[in-house]
Amino acid sequence: MIRTYSLILKRSDNVVIQDFNFSWNKGENIVLVGPNGGGKSTLALGLSGILPVEPGSIVIDSKDITDYDLKSLRKKIGIVFQDPETQFVTTDVWREIGFGLSNIKEESSRIKERVECVIEDFNLRGILDRDPSTLSAGEKQLVAIAGIYAMQPEFLIFDEVTSYLDRKSRERIYELWDSIASSLMIITQNFQEIGFGDKVILLDDGKISFEAQTEDLEGSAHFSYDSDFFNLLKKNQNQIPEYNKIVEILK
């Protein structure tokens, strides 16, 4: 389990996440939505140990995040970013997938075993020799995810990874989420992705402004255009798919 206690996270001296108390159970899938600047990515960077905690604390499985070394932290939590190119450091797909593992100083036999396994799982055999920077956007994103997944983190964060993918590439990521379906945090502006969570959290101005179990949101009462949930989303300037207007007209 990951817990935060009175967590404060800053970006360039600005407080973005303030006095934040939150828990993420092992196995639980969370969808995090909210306006730009609301703190979603900052929270993700904090939880994955990339941003310093100041003050407050993040505790992962009863141990403070600052007490983890890089290798054990990366096995606990991984993060995939919106722009996969920001993660690429090598010039072929095989080495790219293995980079994270070699960075945490895994033995080469273990790296080989994990990379081969992920290549099969993600069906990447056909592009192994390619330079990641020459791949299509969908392929780049899969390679970026494969590199993080190879480290077998217990918790996995996806920060708006589908936002510029075509429908087919997006559906491939969705299949992947369905197959992993455990301890995922999906940060998104795409309302249709809420269904991948057990819980949906709306983050605005560095705080949780709405939180619900996804199953409680199912059904027309919650998805109608004037429901409390929609009003809340509207108030928080989130995305509302236009076809809901038509659904409303048809009622």
């Binding site: 600047g37 920001t86 969908g138 936002s163 510029y164 087919k168 995305q239 236009e242 076809y243």
Partner: protein
């Protein structure tokens, strides 16, 4: 008018644009759709003159637009990754200064006003802005030098509802002033004012037609999204709800009309 005639382009030995002929009219909103990796971004790099065709040519018919490549403003994917100035003011005026544009401060005032930017952020570091504000600043840095064509590569990616709406309204208000070319996987918000749609697949132009004539099934089959009105219209039809036209409307308002009647 800017035209591509039988244009091909190779990266190393791979032909990523294959004998493509396409024209871009001024005062037209032209949507380029196609799967990731189809060659859309390469096509706009050719259009901007950043790369040269391996075969064929990009040109403006004689007497129309001279040095057209200098008059094309391109908003690339993740434009905020290209920021490097200390403050927003310098970031916005950088290109205009380099092009020797006169009257920069007056233009800046107009742009700030037009885009609804808070003048106070001009002194802030561009790196401290929110994601949506960064995109608007990148947009301002192009509009300030009055391009003849505006080329937008995935302009909505990562933006929340508020900023998507703001950017959509801005693009719509510019459509009679300049030619606009948009590459987007999420074109629902702009489809109501798009004039022409071109589908690119594996470097080849499949069709370029007025938006009213687009075969959306063809767009769907190559792995792209279709307008949500088309998606919903199909579902309604398959559930026995009658629409007045055989062709499913591509806009929400069109679908509502077809249902009301």
């Amino acid at each position: 008018m800017i035209m591509l005639k039988n244009v091909s382009y190779k990266y190393d030995e791979t032909e990523v644009i294959k004998s493509c002929s396409l024209s871009f009219s001024p005062n037209e909103v032209h949507l380029l759709v196609g799967p990731n990796g189809a060659g859309k971004t390469t096509l706009i790099m050719l259009l901007k003159g950043l790369i040269k065709p391996s075969r064929g040519r990009v040109f403006s018919p004689r007497g129309q637009i001279s040095a057209w490549w200098q008059k094309m403003g391109v908003l690339f994917q993740f434009p905020e990754d290209l920021f490097f100035n200390d403050n927003v003011y310098e970031e916005i005026v950088y290109g205009a200064k380099r092009f020797g544009v006169k009257d920069i401060d007056r233009r800046l005032d107009n742009i700030v006003d037009f885009l609804g930017l808070d003048p106070e952020i001009l002194q802030a570091s561009p790196f401290d802005l929110s994601y949506g504000e960064k995109r608007i600043v990148a947009f301002a840095s192009i509009l300030i030098w009055d391009p003849l064509y505006l080329i937008l590569d995935e302009p909505f990616s990562g933006l929340d509802w508020q900023f998507k709406k703001r950017l959509t309204e801005t693009i719509e208000s510019l459509k009679d002033k300049m030619g606009i070319v948009v590459i987007s996987q999420e074109f629902d918000s702009i489809i109501s004012f798009v004039d022409r749609v071109s589908l690119i697949v594996r470097g080849e132009l499949v069709f370029s037609s007025p938006v009213e004539e687009v075969d959306w099934d063809e767009v769907y089959e190559v792995g792209c999204d279709v307008p949500s009105a088309v998606r919903l219209g199909k579902k309604l039809k398959s559930n026995g709800i009658e629409l007045i036209s055989d062709k499913i409307p591509y806009t929400v308002s069109g679908l509502v009309d077809a249902l009301k009647k």
